[in-house]
């Protein structure tokens, strides 16, 4: 039993990294614009689906297919920003309208994927096809190592981007005060598009990493988006590192829920954690970002 729990916690950490990356995607857009993008899950789904299509149907090598998918999905993020978010933004729409529009966009993308790729679940081969390592009696498979290593790498790169590049600093300036940033000559609206591209790329990357261990299908977006949102809430909305921590906590909690309650109610468990946090501590574990 103890072995099973430890093993579950381990796999929960892996899935939790993915939730964390998606949660960071929420934070990037939220910090740049104050918008909560409910179409975040579509990026995760597209990441897996595009990689699968490029890999399995057009025979591209997996790394190339993944890179192509990330670029294409980042582009899709910009398209979403141009077609849906920008017009509403310019008209000064309320937050509810923005949420509703991005949720509608999520459904449109989902249905387009269904039409284009069918309703069959797809999966990718694991990145390194070797038997799992045994560490302290636990089986550690290579995909888990890939997920954790890539997630940490992404976080380090993001931290470097936000702290030492000019563009990253400009985006942080936008998150502190958009008007003041505009007065400093920062192109605020271009930063919004950039935030969507970055966030979409993060989502796609998460989708590619997780697909070999689970599967991807047209309808995986909403559950992933909600898990990412829960991660962001638990970590205190707008804090990327908090979101990553929140993601890992959520992943572990969900894994334990599967052990003790059965897999049927794992989504109910995650949603209940969300409600609990919203009711008891809506500012997250670490408090609000500002």
């Amino acid at each position: 039993m103890l072995d099973l729990v430890a093993q579950s916690i381990l796999s929960g950490i892996g899935v939790g990294c993915i939730y964390g990356l998606i949660g960071i995607g929420f934070c990037v857009i939220y910090n740049a614009s104050g918008i909560v993008n409910f179409a975040q899950g579509a990026f995760v789904m597209m990441g897996g689906m595009v990689t699968y299509t490029a890999f399995a149907r057009y025979g591209l090598p997996l790394p190339l297919a993944a890179a192509l998918a990330i670029v294409l999905v980042a582009f899709a993020g910009v398209v979403l920003e141009r077609l849906v978010v920008r017009p509403l933004w310019n008209r000064g729409s309320t937050m509810f309208v923005m949420i509703l529009a991005t949720l509608a966009a999520q459904i449109v993308i989902e249905r387009l994927a269904l039409l284009a790729a069918g309703d069959q679940p797809r999966t990718l081969p694991v990145f390194t096809d070797r038997p799992p390592l045994r560490i302290l009696g636990l089986a550690v498979n290579f995909q888990f190592l890939w997920i954790v290593a890539c997630s940490l790498l992404v976080i380090v790169l993001l931290a470097l981007f936000f702290s030492s590049t000019k563009t990253g600093k400009a985006m942080r300036a936008c998150s502190i005060n958009r008007d003041a940033a505009a007065l400093q000559g920062i192109p605020v609206s271009r930063m919004l598009a950039l935030a969507f591209a970055l966030s979409a790329a993060l989502g796609a990357f998460a989708g590619i990493l997780i697909t070999p261990t689970q599967y991807t299908a047209f309808n995986v977006g909403v559950p992933f988006a909600i898990s990412g949102f829960i991660a962001a809430i638990v970590g205190g909305f707008g804090r990327p590192l908090g979101a990553f921590t929140g993601g890992i906590l959520l992943g572990v909690a969900q894994a334990l829920a599967i052990v003790f309650l059965g897999s049927a109610f794992k989504n109910v468990a995650a949603l209940s954690i969300l409600l609990l946090f919203l009711f008891v501590r809506p500012t997250g574990l670490l408090g609000p970002a500002k």
Binding site: V36, F38, L83, V84, P87, L88, R91, S93, M95, F96, V97, I99, L100, A101, L103, A104, A105, Q106, I107, V108, E110, R111, L112, L114, L115, V222, I226, F229, I233, A264, F265, N267, V268, L271, S272, L274, L275, L278, F279, P282
Partner: protein
């Protein structure tokens, strides 16, 4: 009640588009009643959604809140009705009453903590509630029979008196839809309705006027949940079948599209929204993927271009014309100055 009727009439007279729409809906209902056929199901479906959307409108349009989770209350009452009549052989009326009561009790329990939230927290919390209801409907298959759904649900009726003919069901649903609309009208003009609108305008200002904001929001939530529950029970009894998909995210998107097509915050908007969206040719065909695609895309376009809905179109035109006129005047004035 009479008062509400006359005021709807007065509003229709002052807005030609509204009058045309009412006439079109009435003509459609008469045509369908005489000829029956495929449109019968469409119109019944629209009537049920009028009830659902009217309730949502009360919470979102009047009170300025947001809920992506009202499908949960429709699901609770719908499944209670379905299980009690199909599995345990209850009469529809007590089953529906118990279902609606159960939905209201749930709304009261979740409403209290949920309504303290604002903005995207409120949106996400309600979305989570709706998704939990859907997941439970899928997973609790010893009661709900999972994706298979429940069939053989008793038709509407009391004891031996049941409504089984398509025409009878249509008449009944039209009456219920109109009653629910008149009730919304009555609520809107009451002290309670005015306090809803005050809360939407500014919670601080409403509080300064002595309105108990938390209580007002909770009441709006409960009333709209009640409408959703009525719609849920009506649906399962009228159609005779229920599955989780009936009350899934699809229901939310559909209801929002109807709400925004008709005009959020107007009293009669839900009628036109529901009828128009239900009439979209894809609605009742087998291709559900195209439906959601069309609704989603339509919703985005409406949110961008006519955020106040169809009923507001004459207003919009009038304003655009007025704007053009002032433009022309300004240009000519400028030219005059140059000369």
């Amino acid at each position: 009640m009479m008062n509400s009727l006359t005021s709807i009439w007065a509003e229709a007279r002052s807005n030609p588009l509204l009058l045309v729409l009412w006439l079109a809906v009435a003509a459609l209902a008469a045509y369908v009643f005489v000829n029956g056929g495929y449109l019968m199901a469409v119109l019944q479906f629209a009537c049920i959604y009028v009830v659902f959307v009217a309730g949502l409108n009360l919470f979102m349009g009047f009170t300025g809140q947001v809920s992506f989770g009202h499908n949960a209350f429709a699901a609770i009452s719908g499944y209670t009705s379905a299980v009690l009549t199909a599995t345990y052989g209850w009469d529809p009326v007590p089953a529906a009453v118990l279902g609606i009561g159960g939905a209201l009790a749930c709304a009261l329990i979740v409403g209290y903590p949920v309504l303290r939230l604002r903005g995207h927290y409120l949106a996400m919390a309600t979305l989570a509630i709706g998704l939990i209801a859907y997941e439970v409907a899928v997973q609790w298959d010893s009661v709900t029979q999972g994706y298979m759904g429940i069939s053989g649900i008793a038709p509407l009726g009391v004891g031996r008196w049941t409504i089984t003919s398509d025409r009878g069901i249509l008449i009944f649903l039209i009456v219920v839809a109109l009653l629910s609309l008149l009730m919304v009208r009555g609520i809107r003009r009451s002290r309670l309705g005015r306090s809803f609108v005050a809360v939407a305008g500014s919670e601080d200002a409403a509080r300064a006027l002595g309105i108990d904001v938390a209580r007002t929001k909770l009441l709006a939530f409960l009333i709209s949940a009640g409408y959703a529950a009525v719609a849920g029970s009506l649906f399962v009894h009228a159609v005779g079948f229920v599955s989780p998909e009936v009350f899934g995210l699809h229901m939310v998107v559909l209801a929002f599209t109807m709400l925004y097509v008709g005009g959020i915050g107007t009293i009669v908007g839900p009628v036109f929204g529901a009828v128009i969206v239900a009439l979209l040719p894809e609605t009742f065909r087998g291709f559900k993927e195209y439906q959601d695609l069309a609704y989603g895309a339509a919703l985005v376009l409406i949110l961008i271009y006519t955020p106040r809905g169809l009923v507001s179109l004459p207003d919009l035109w009038r304003r655009r014309k007025a704007a053009q006129k002032t433009d022309v005047q300004q240009t000519s004035a400028r030219q005059g100055g140059a000369a």
